[in-house]
Assembly symmetry: C2
Homo-oligomer: 221 residues x 2
């Protein structure tokens, strides 16, 4: 019975890794679609989000099913609920990649990002990709050095986010208002994407060490 339980948990972890890989592809493609005004790629991200949602529903249903059948003891119960919350964070990261793709689609055939901000958005896409890659390994391996790295990577994201505002508020800014709106929205999407990565890092750290996770600072799931 216990062996079956642990096999089922392992299968759930594998599905979560698969979801996270899809989210990694989504944020990378959404960033390219945004920078290159690539409508086809934007549409691809938008339709692929449905697969992430289906996987999410499936992992959630299977988790609840395992919990209902196996009546996990206290520690296992908390671990499984923490797993459910990680799933939710990853799924939400997928939604945020989708939102970025929708901005790219809305502004096609132009790019929503002015030339002066391409380097910052490029970096935001890279940092997001780095974080989601580490989330994937963290779910699979529970290596807490990855959790620490994710927190540091998120500091880089916060710096990049501030650079967007600094650029838009500088006297050199000469873009139309729709550009300011799109840059503000995309900046928020990338920032939240990485916040959810930090949330996963803190949940995994808490499960492994029992160390408090400064919960009030977390994006809640």
């Amino acid at each position: 019975m216990r062996d079956l339980y642990h096999d089922e948990l392992q299968a759930l972890i594998e599905s979560m890794v698969e979801m996270t890989k899809l989210v990694g592809a989504a944020i990378s493609q959404a960033t390219t679609a945004l920078l290159e005004a690539d409508l086809e790629l934007a549409e691809k991200v938008i339709s692929a989000d449905r697969m992430i949602d289906l996987l999410t529903n499936e992992v959630e249903d299977r988790s609840l099913d395992v919990m209902a059948r196996q009546a996990p003891v206290a520690g296992e119960l908390r671990a499984t609920i923490a797993g459910l919350r990680v799933v939710t964070d990853v799924e939400r990261m997928g939604d945020l990649a989708l939102h970025i793709a929708k901005v790219a689609r809305r502004r096609y055939p132009a790019s929503a990002i002015p030339a002066s901000l391409r380097p910052v958005i490029t970096r935001m896409g890279e940092v997001s990709g780095t974080i989601v890659g580490k989330v994937e390994r963290l779910i699979a391996e529970h290596d807490l050095t990855l959790a620490d790295e994710i927190e540091r990577d998120d500091d880089d994201m916060d710096d990049l986010h501030r650079q967007l505002f600094t650029a838009m508020l500088s006297p050199q800014w000469d873009q139309p208002v729709e550009c300011a709106i799109d840059v503000t929205l995309c900046g928020r999407y990338y920032e939240r994407f990485c916040d959810h990565g930090v949330s996963v890092a803190r949940r995994v750290r808490f499960r492994v060490t029992g160390e408090p996770q400064h919960r009030e600072a977390l994006p809640r799931v």
Copy 2:
């Protein structure tokens, strides 16, 4: 044992109602702070969010404790996990009220909202207040007419959100870029606030009727 279990669940519902009341006060005060450039009120919302976070942690810990001690059967397990997710939605609504208060504080002594958009933002605050009030009653009473109303109220919010963009993109728009940034961010915060209300409505409806909740359209928790 079962009586004790149900007493504990009832106490959890009462704490969730208390949390939701605090969030209702927060969104109302944040909107006033934003429109009236009321720094004191903005600071009040910002410090009160800590109480919402503490209540959230307490309700989550008690829920997990009840689940671990009482080993709920399948239906109860799903209901308790759904309750945990409602808590998360309500806590996130509190964060979004906090973000609005922070915009008010950042722009003080000016108001972040230009005169032409005051009616729209006033209505966004009212609709948000209506939704959070219905969320509170829905948690306490499980009356599904409230869930239906919340979905309709959220359609009003989506209309208001579109009105913000229409105004900013009209030829009459003559505000500086920081104003477009703040309006874009606040619009997003109000919209997400109401999305989480819809999420609660769908979770409660699903628990009561078993009717599918179109999960892919939900803000996930």
